[in-house]
Amino acid sequence: MLCSSINADFERTYRREVVAARSLASRGVAVARFHYRGTGNSDGHHTELTFDGMVDDAMSVLGWLRQEAGIAVPVVLGARWGALVAAATSRLSGFGPLALWEPVVEGTRYFREADRARAVRVLKEGASGQRSAEALDVELARYEEADVLGYPITRAFYDSAVERTLAREAGELSRAVLFVEIGSRGGLRPENARQVRRWEEMGFHVRTAQVEGRETWWFIGDRWEPEERRPLTLELARVTGDWILEHIRSGGWGG
């Protein structure tokens, strides 16, 4: 089950997730994707979006996969913000295997990036009379909602999400984890390396991979490249598929 990210990430990685899911399916792995309530084509309004609601939605899909598709041990896969949702879902559903693509390790980091994106826009276009000249948390303390480049962040979502961390959401029971970082090769970034080390010390079976690529989150670029041909996308699908099939062939997810 694939837990997507939200806002600009959701749109940016949509096709990548479709391509990766189809690649996994071609190797015999069934994949379920979904849109959280209040996002994408699902029901609901964006004001209903909270972190707990997202986890509830993921749990519903997991239940469907188990009941309808007869899958005993689903792999929960999360991309960017979806990694936090995937980690919580994995913990709440019996500590199944967890795969993470360029995970948001701390909620505060995600919102800091959002703040920076707003600042870049103000620098580019000027702040004249715009609320976005204020810091995100200041604006949310005053209003119910902030505009981050055309995506709404509500106070309810922010309050439910800002303190989340990958470590806390995943819990302490060891399990198999695939941790994929997107960037330049040559060692994980410090925050990711710390998280992986911590899990290894706790007995988690962590496989790390670095996939070369450059992403500018929040800003949708103006260059088009078919996702089916992007080395980044093909590598993500390959690494994830290899990891899943390796475990299936070895007869389990213990190590």
Binding site: N7, N41, S42, R121, Y151, D222, W224, E228
Partner: protein, 315 residues
């Protein structure tokens, strides 16, 4: 009208995901059934190349489809080939090569539901695609073109092609020698951008030379000039009496270029069309829908104009 009220009009229970054929490919779309008495019209939404998905940025297309369904419209939003959930590969988004075949597939599918009269609503690349599909459809009810680009260029060349006509070689050199641009030479992405600018300028100069020498290649569009294809297609729809709504942001380059297109002869046709053609402008930039207020304003304009169109059609 606030976003919350509009969103709550129709929910996903009125929607059916479908795969429909378009040429050799299967495209993914979402059909929203009318939740008010059907008005005999269907609206098809075509996104731009920036967020080429059924949702568009921040679900704008979802909101528009559900609002129109509450007015009695059948609606369809879909992913172009090679995007979202659809099959195929999209090699490039070029305004002179719109995905008209995809729209034809969507129109055929929706007509299969028993609705003949179609309103096409497109933004940016989607608007040019709507325009391309519209000229060959004789049962078209109307057209809404949001930030429709009047020039022909490939996605990623909007600014390079514009600068190539506005800046002289001397101005290019002066800009290129600025400290921050020189620092950019150490960054592969910025280096690639400089090469694109240089190529665009080269193409513009070469095009001028060829025009001056009388050798014009009509098969290769000139991205620095108003597209004759754009002018011709809008003109032919006006001649046919198809109602059109143009929406632009007052600060966006496409609006300024639209002004140039009207100065170049399209204006007389549009003036002659009377109330069949409307132009609405909004403060700032509409293109890309990068502000929540702009999304609300565009959604309101579209739903109001579509409502009026349904009223006219029912008479």
């Amino acid at each position: 009208m606030g976003r919350m009220k509009r969103d709550s009009m129709v929910d996903a229970s009125a929607e059916t995901p479908v795969f429909f054929p378009a040429g050799q490919r299967l495209l993914f779309g979402i059909h929203t059934r009318p939740t008010a008495p059907p008005n005999g019209l269907a609206a098809i939404i075509l996104p731009g190349g920036g967020v080429p998905l059924t949702t568009n940025r921040n679900r704008l297309s979802v909101r528009v489809c559900r609002s129109l369904a509450a007015q009695g419209y059948h609606t369809m939003r879909f992913d172009y080939h090679g995007t979202g959930e659809s099959s195929g590969t999209a090699e490039a988004f070029r305004l002179h090569e719109p995905f008209a075949e995809d729209v034809t597939g969507a129109i055929e599918w929706i007509r299969g539901q028993g609705v003949e009269r179609i309103l096409l609503i497109g933004s940016c690349f989607g608007a040019r695609t709507a325009l391309a599909a519209a000229v060959s459809d004789d049962r078209l009810a109307g057209l809404i073109l949001v930030s429709v680009p009047p020039r022909d260029f490939e996605m990623g060349e909007r600014l390079t092609s514009r600068f190539s006509t506005e800046l002289s070689v001397w101005q290019y050199l002066r800009r290129g020698l600025r400290a921050r641009h020189l620092r950019g030479l150490f960054d592969s992405q910025r280096r690639a951008a400089y090469v694109r600018h240089a190529r665009a300028k080269g193409r513009t100069l070469f095009g001028r030379f060829r025009r001056a020498s009388g050798a014009i290649d009509r098969s290769r569009p000139d991205p620095s000039r108003i597209s004759p294809v754009f002018v011709e297609k809008v003109g032919s729809l006006v001649d046919r009496g198809v109602p059109i709504l143009f929406i632009y942001g007052q600060d966006e380059d496409f609006y300024e270029e639209f002004g140039r297109a009207t100065d170049a002869g399209l204006g007389t046709k549009l003036d002659g069309a009377g109330s069949l053609v409307a132009l609405e402008t909004l403060p700032g930039t509409v293109h890309g829908f990068t502000r929540l207020t702009v999304q609300d304003q565009v959604a309101d304009l579209v739903t109001r104009w579509a409502g009026r169109l349904a009223g006219v059609e029912s008479r």
